[in-house]
């Protein structure tokens, strides 16, 4: 028996969520009294994972796995899970992982709980807390199958050091025919993405028009943040669709979320309230966002944001 985590990497480097799933997997392994095994695909140096508790790292490398292919990646995770005798498989909640996890679950005939936010509250029955109803509630879910797949919500468990003496071994996974083939990728480079961001700066219809986004981007650049927007802003074509956050857009689970000229409709809040700290800047002190925020400024964005930029520049320089 063991716990297997898939520690995802990008260009050989582990993502923050990889360290979070390893930390989480270590906790589950302790609860079950078993070992933690971490799977890496095309990662350069697996020893970083020992720091967070991975006693054994299974390293799979192949050119074929350089781009994500859900079918192929699911075969790798499934084979390693079987070889390791994993009773629990933990995967993060990136866009690719959400694509992968249900396939792995069927391959392993495992019950799958997505959006898990905490270590199991009980291991018999195996019970995990998950987000439900678009962040408006949680469900305590029992996974009844022998093998279990857990999708860990980003920024929910945190990264915890737990150094062990680890070993790494290579694994040759079966290569399968790709029935879905990748023709082309278009990726914005040099920009922080909402999924990866620690800080997200988001703006809404209160900004009046696309020409006013310069200050939003400037604020984001100073903070090393990603930019986002409310749904009407992307529907109106002021900003690209990829920036739309909320219940029907991208979820945000950053450390800091700054909302400028966003009213705080229930569908908007549902998608962003997993963020740790929320700041609102809005002219209307009655805007619902003030009920959801930790810090707020009642004021005109066109005055407040430039001041904030100026003061932050001084703060960063000091």
């Amino acid at each position: 028996m063991s716990v297997l985590v898939f520690a995802d990497s990008s260009e050989g480097k582990f993502k923050k969520t990889a360290l979070e799933v390893v930390s989480y997997g270590k906790k589950v392994a302790e609860q079950l009294g078993t070992n933690l095994v971490a799977l890496t695909i095309n990662a350069m140096d697996s020893s970083e994972l020992y720091t967070y508790g991975a006693e054994k790292v299974v390293s799979v490398s192949h050119d074929f796995l350089r781009t994500f292919n859900a079918k192929q990646h699911s075969v790798v995770v499934t084979e390693v899970a079987k070889a390791a005798g994993a009773s629990v498989v933990v995967i993060d909640s990136s866009i690719d992982s959400l694509y992968l996890a249900p396939i792995v679950a069927v391959n392993l005939e495992a019950g799958y709980a997505s959006n898990v936010v905490d270590a199991p509250s009980s291991i018999s029955p195996f019970t995990v807390k998950r987000k439900a109803f678009s962040n408006k509630a949680f469900s305590n879910t029992i996974i009844t199958t022998e093998t279990k797949v857990i999708g860990l919500a980003k920024n929910s468990y945190g990264i915890h050091e737990n150094a062990v003496l680890g070993t790494t071994e290579n694994f040759d996974a079966t290569l399968v025919e790709a029935r879905v083939s990748l023709e082309k990728v278009e990726r914005v480079t040099g920009k922080v993405t909402i999924a990866d961001a620690d800080i997200v700066v988001s703006a809404g219809r209160g900004l009046k028009g696309p020409e006013n986004w310069g200050m939003v981007e400037e604020l984001a650049t100073i903070l090393g943040a990603a930019t986002a927007c409310s749904k009407p802003v992307s529907d109106l074509g002021w900003r690209p669709h990829g920036e739309h956050v909320g219940q029907t857009g991208k979820p945000v689970a950053s450390n800091l979320y700054i909302a400028i000229g966003i009213s705080g409709a229930i569908q908007h809040l549902a998608g962003i309230n997993a963020s740790k700290v929320k700041v609102v800047i809005n002219t209307d002190s009655e805007a619902p966002f003030f009920k959801a925020a930790d810090y707020g400024i009642v004021g005109d964005a066109f005055e407040v944001v430039p001041k904030l930029i100026e003061k932050l520049k001084a703060f960063k320089a000091s």
């Binding site: 859900a70 079918k71 866009i95 690719d96 959400l98 694509y99 249900p102 396939i103 679950a105 069927v106 391959n107 019950g111 799958y112 709980a113 997505s114 807390k129 998950r130 109803f133 678009s134 408006k136 509630a137 949680f138 469900s139 879910t141 029992i142 996974i143 009844t144 199958t145 999708g151 029935r179 879905v180 083939s181 023709e183 082309k184 990728v185 278009e186 990726r187 914005v188 920009k191 800080i199 990829g242 219940q247 029907t248 450390n255 800091l256 229930i266 740790k276 700290v277 700041v279 003030f290 930790d294 810090y295 707020g296 400024i297 009642v298 005109d300 005055e303 407040v304 904030l308 703060f315």
Partner: protein, 248 residues
């Protein structure tokens, strides 16, 4: 082309979420149920295939009799026929197994499902269904075209898009972008009248065991009140974010 659209029946996005029976059941009192927003995008896309390419469109739901108005709404929007699998949907794996039976029976070419349902947020049914039926599968689609047996798909990834090609049959996990918000179809009077006469078939479930059960629900802890900072004093906000919240 035979299209199947999987329809999840969920509380309207503005619903207040409450629980009954010692927090073990969702309180449906006063809650409006709708077609899951992602499925609405998928259904509109299916209508487009129907109008432009003569596709036939079936909608399917795994649920109790209370979901029939939602299926009727899908028929009113333009689906040709509906299937309800008469089982309580509480676990995504079980739902996917039930849907797989319908898929194998009906030999659909394209299955459209939402990337996530707004109630349990399982994010699993499309991927599980594709794996159980051995269909091709792409998740998070923001564009799909079918020409003969060639499918071209745009998938949203972190910070961009991927352009993929595949053959049929295929399961598409769709989201906004697969059609635009402004193009969403809503039922008109004629559609509603016609929907009454369209077939809605009720099938008994195969009764596969569930893989997960819900023990209880909880609501998030109430939040403290907001700390207001004067608009003329953004330094204080910076100081709070740095020293108190420790996020910058």
């Amino acid at each position: 082309m035979k299209i199947l659209v999987c329809i999840s029946h969920v509380p309207d996005t503005t619903s207040k979420i409450n629980f009954t029976d010692n927090d073990t059941n969702f309180d449906t009192n006063g809650v409006q149920f709708v077609i899951n927003p992602y499925d609405e995008f998928c259904l509109t896309r299916a209508m487009w295939f129907k109008d432009k390419q003569g596709a036939s469109v079936t909608v399917v739901n795994v649920g109790g009799v209370e979901t029939e108005p939602t299926l009727r709404k899908a028929l009113a929007i333009g689906a040709d026929n509906a299937i309800r699998i008469n089982a309580l949907a509480t676990d995504g794996f079980q739902v996917a197994k039930e849907l797989a039976t319908v898929v194998k029976e009906g030999k659909y070419d394209v299955i459209l499902a939402g990337k996530e349902s707004a109630d349990y947020n399982g994010q699993m049914v499309p991927g599980m269904l594709a794996t159980l039926t051995d269909y091709n599968f792409v998740n998070g689609c923001v564009g799909v075209e079918v020409e003969g047996s060639a499918v071209s798909i745009t998938r949203e990834i972190d910070g961009g898009n991927e352009f993929l090609s595949s053959g049929l049959p295929i399961v598409i996990g769709g989201q906004k972008g697969i059609v635009e918000e402004k193009d969403l179809r809503i039922p008109n009077m004629r559609g509603i009248m016609m929907a009454r006469k369209k077939p809605l078939q009720v099938l008994e479930p195969s009764g596969d065991p569930v893989a997960t059960t819900i023990q209880s629900f909880e609501k998030p802890a109430p939040k403290g009140t907001v700390k207001l900072v004067d608009a003329d004093n953004v330094d204080e906000l910076i100081s709070l974010l740095h020293n108190e919240a420790k996020v910058i």
